[in-house]
Homo-oligomer: 542 residues x 2
């Protein structure tokens, strides 16, 4: 493991500031310079805050053993806090789950699924991607020795499929994404290059700019240098690949410009991937839950599993949590100095509590994403063997399906689990109303349009999730309207008495594990500062 030598973090800057202030005005000046909950600022995104001071026997009750809860417990325990974690599920990780053989899931409807994948197969039905810039998540994969592998998040050799539709030149057809990307890039480069060359844009460009721009367009679009025309390119694929012996290959012909323009998939192409979808993209070897297992190795002894929170109470001096044992049905009370609550708001807003009316009102302004996925195990990797697709996504406009994603592990092995749909909103609600057998049928019928009868023939077993129906989650992630982000979000980031919230919902990275982790970093720092400040006051008053 590497130490925290990645450079200056804001945590350090802040400490230096406080030291400077402390050096001139003494401890009282430091804490007088801000209120007891002060120092609310953006977290250092690379590493947990570098905190000093001790916990003085304080006890922080943590609700939820998801990544936010376990992050806070791990870091606060280092400072000496007692950090019992109350977890309703029988396992740690929250939504950071992986379905593998034996994994059981019961929806709020009572519908139960047990994953029957072969040993060695798995499906990340929750979070499934770690972009390289999610440094907080990567901090813990390093800290807990969780090996990573590449998650192929873009594969130009996958298909773009358009549902049958009148007048669509690609109606009911699959076409390689690489062909569309090459062709639309080539044709637009040609259009612009010719316009520049014919001096139609002279008001915009100097002569030197024009030359450089044409150079760029010729290489970007792979244009014929003298005619400035796009005539296809090797990168779009060959009719027959260049080979050995007397086979120089047979180039492929581009699609017609107008046809390409009418293919909706082109509107998913970007000059650069969007912020969260950028390469390099990782996944833990063996499943996303390996990250949860890493945390669990460190804080598992603090977790009380199978305990449902039924009341959240507080007064000026501390908190009192009423929990019900899901096994025995018995309730008991857990007391502490603070409560860090990582329960999703969709669940929290149904639990009786002493949270202020303003806070409760703010909670109710947040909606949670309806979203579903299905993992399909096939006995033969026909997408690799027949279609030469290794990872990445086939883009479809099939309602309720969206993208089909091929596994980024077990290359060239016999079997594999692909993601047969990833749906959102009303599509997700509609599909989730089906039985699990119907969801499977729905996914197989759609995939067969693209992959033919192998999709039915090789199918072995499925596991689907509908996050809005999963107890203790009730949604994929928090969806903030811009109004709620402006009015409710700041309130929920503040402490309400001795209760603080944490989780992906308290971040601008909703739905991402880094949001949960960094939110925990920020909120635990507030708790520690409050504990230190009040300890100092008690000391000074004595």
């Amino acid at each position: 493991m590497m130490g925290r030598d990645e450079g200056t973090t804001r945590g350090i800057d802040r400490r230096h500031f406080l030291r400077l202030l402390g050096a001139t005005g003494g401890t009282a000046a430091v804490f007088g310079a801000m209120d007891a909950w002060g120092m609310i600022a953006a977290s250092a995104a690379e590493a947990p805050p570098d905190l000093e001071g001790s916990a003085d026997g304080r006890r922080v009750i943590i609700l939820g053993a998801g990544l936010a809860g376990m992050t806070a417990a791990y870091e606060l325990a280092k400072l000496g806090y007692e950090t019992p974690i109350i977890e309703a599920r029988d396992f740690a990780g929250g939504r950071c789950q992986t379905a593998r053989r034996g994994f059981v899931q019961t929806e709020v409807t009572g519908r139960t699924q047990r994953a029957l994948f072969d040993e060695g197969q798995h499906f990340n039905h929750g979070p499934w991607r770690i972009p390289y810039h999610h440094r907080s998540t990567l901090h813990y994969t390093r800290e807990f020795d969780v090996p990573l592998e590449i998650m192929v998040n873009d594969n130009p050799n996958a298909w773009a499929y358009r549902e049958e539709e009148d007048g669509n030149p690609f109606s009911g057809e699959r076409v390689r994404i690489r062909e569309l990307r090459a062709d639309i890039g080539g044709y637009t480069a040609e259009l612009l290059a010719k316009a520049v060359d014919q001096s139609r844009l002279d008001d915009e460009l100097t002569e030197e700019d024009r030359e450089r721009l044409i150079d760029y367009l010729v290489s970007f679009g792979q244009l014929d240098r003298s005619a400035l025309e796009y005539r296809g390119t090797g990168g779009r694929g060959y009719e027959e690949d260049p080979g050995a012996g007397l086979n120089p290959g047979v180039p492929s012909d581009p699609h017609a410009f107008r046809d390409v323009l009418s293919h909706g998939a082109i509107n998913s192409f970007r000059a650069i991937d969007s912020h969260t979808q950028k390469n390099t993209m990782f996944q833990p070897v063996g499943g996303m839950d390996q990250l949860a297992r890493g945390f669990e190795r460190a804080v598992g002894h603090m977790i009380d599993y199978g305990q449902e929170v039924v009341e959240i109470r507080q007064n000026d001096d501390g908190v009192r949590i009423v929990v019900e044992d899901r096994g025995t049905g018995e309730t008991r009370e857990v007391e502490g100095d603070y409560c860090l609550c990582t329960i999703p708001l969709s669940v929290l807003n149904q639990i009786p509590s002493d949270l202020s009316p303003e806070f409760s009102q703010a909670m109710n302004q947040v909606t949670y994403a309806s979203t579903g996925k299905i993992g399909l195990q096939f006995g033969r990797r026909f997408w690799e063997l027949d279609d030469h697709i290794y990872g990445g996504h086939t883009i479809t406009n099939l309602q309720g399906i969206g993208n089909i994603t091929y596994p980024s592990y077990g290359w060239q092995e016999q079997k594999g689990v692909l993601q047969g749909y990833y749906n959102f909103g009303s599509d997700a609600i509609e599909v989730s109303a089906m039985t699990s057998a119907e969801r499977t049928r729905f996914a197989l019928e759609a995939g067969s349009k693209i992959h033919g009868e192998a999709y039915e023939r090789e199918f072995e077993t499925a596991f689907s999730v509908a996050w809005h129906l999963i107890p203790y989650s009730l949604g994929g992630w928090a969806s903030w309207s811009s109004d709620a982000r402006q009015n409710a979000y700041p309130i929920l980031n503040e402490p309400d008495g001795r209760i603080l919230l944490a989780g992906e919902h308290l971040s601008y990275m909703t739905g991402w594990m880094s949001g949960a982790i960094e939110s925990a970093w920020i909120q635990m720092e507030k708790i520690h500062q409050h504990a230190q400040a009040t300890a100092t006051r008690v000391q000074e008053a004595a």
Copy 2:
């Protein structure tokens, strides 16, 4: 392992054709329909030719235990051929090598290097990439159970560096590739979108096309929808990433259009990666030589190591190879019915042989690529920890350096080996004239311009290769001029008496392992057809 059910191959088509012909005219008609060496055609690129018939005790002497030689031995042995392999080196694989602790290499200059990398570290100084469409290579990774992992061949978060230069706005600066890609994509989309919107290109487009084109350009370039302006995008990176709590992130400002136009790195951007550089890209886990080890497990018992070919003789009935044992210096003769020679032409054209003058003349028209690489082991993965670069290439215009490539294995481990230069032509010759210590110094000084003093501080050990100086290779790969490709190449693909050539040089995939493998498939099929045809004639004559 999956069977050969990937669909119809040309081998099967051909067999069907021959069967049809055989059904009407008998065996003689089949073989009368072509000359004994007939059926010269493009190979099936997915799997070895599906051959029938037996070898009748024939013996094919294979020169070289590289991928071509081992492919031919493996497949011919299945048909019953005796296939002794003569190999000059002490190991199999030819150029398919990996430097790891203890690997020793002596250049023709007598300069010897021993790799001192830590256990677990390695450097692919020969082939290092397997594109998803190199099906023949992937056929054997599957056949020999060689596990694969992703080779990150494109990383927009790596740097583009420009050497100090008057008037260059990026002189001596490093800039993230993602910024350049986003900005040039955005600005060109803006130019074109505005031109279309202002009806300057109406002669080219219908109204419907115009609307669709603008839609595409807005999403591709991430333009402001109403102003059709590029104002930056999250994908180019944030000044400060969106985080948890009250941190929505701070967007970054784009570079000026003119500045981006003057950055030479933009001319390496493509709408789609070129044919050979396309994702998904693989590497064998543990080093490229794991593929060679896979072959060796199957054919190692046929290989006679440390045997240098000093003469290649033939007459109408067979071949006679004179070999010299590199240990004892003793020579001996090896006889067979055919010779499949996979020795690079740069080496072969110095070996006395009975090859025809026409053939020898053709050989001399080929040049071999001068090329060099250096692997640098660092004690700390500063590129990951400080720069957040996981794999891919930093693009430079530093002479003799080219790209710097970060390792695609051992993510987040302590140490790593990166590729400090990859040079070609006269650059490669110049750098290879240095001692190995000087090459290291050269690489470190260049890399320090981009990565600062960590590049010197964390450096531990280096291993460099200059392929044009490596005995039995004398070059990276065959470089065919278009003239030589037209005039010499077809001759060299033909048998010369009972001698046939194979290797990457006899392909349109020069420098790629698939070229070697597929060339072997084609040439071994010719040998088998000749053997079958002549056996049939003998039988009919009898």
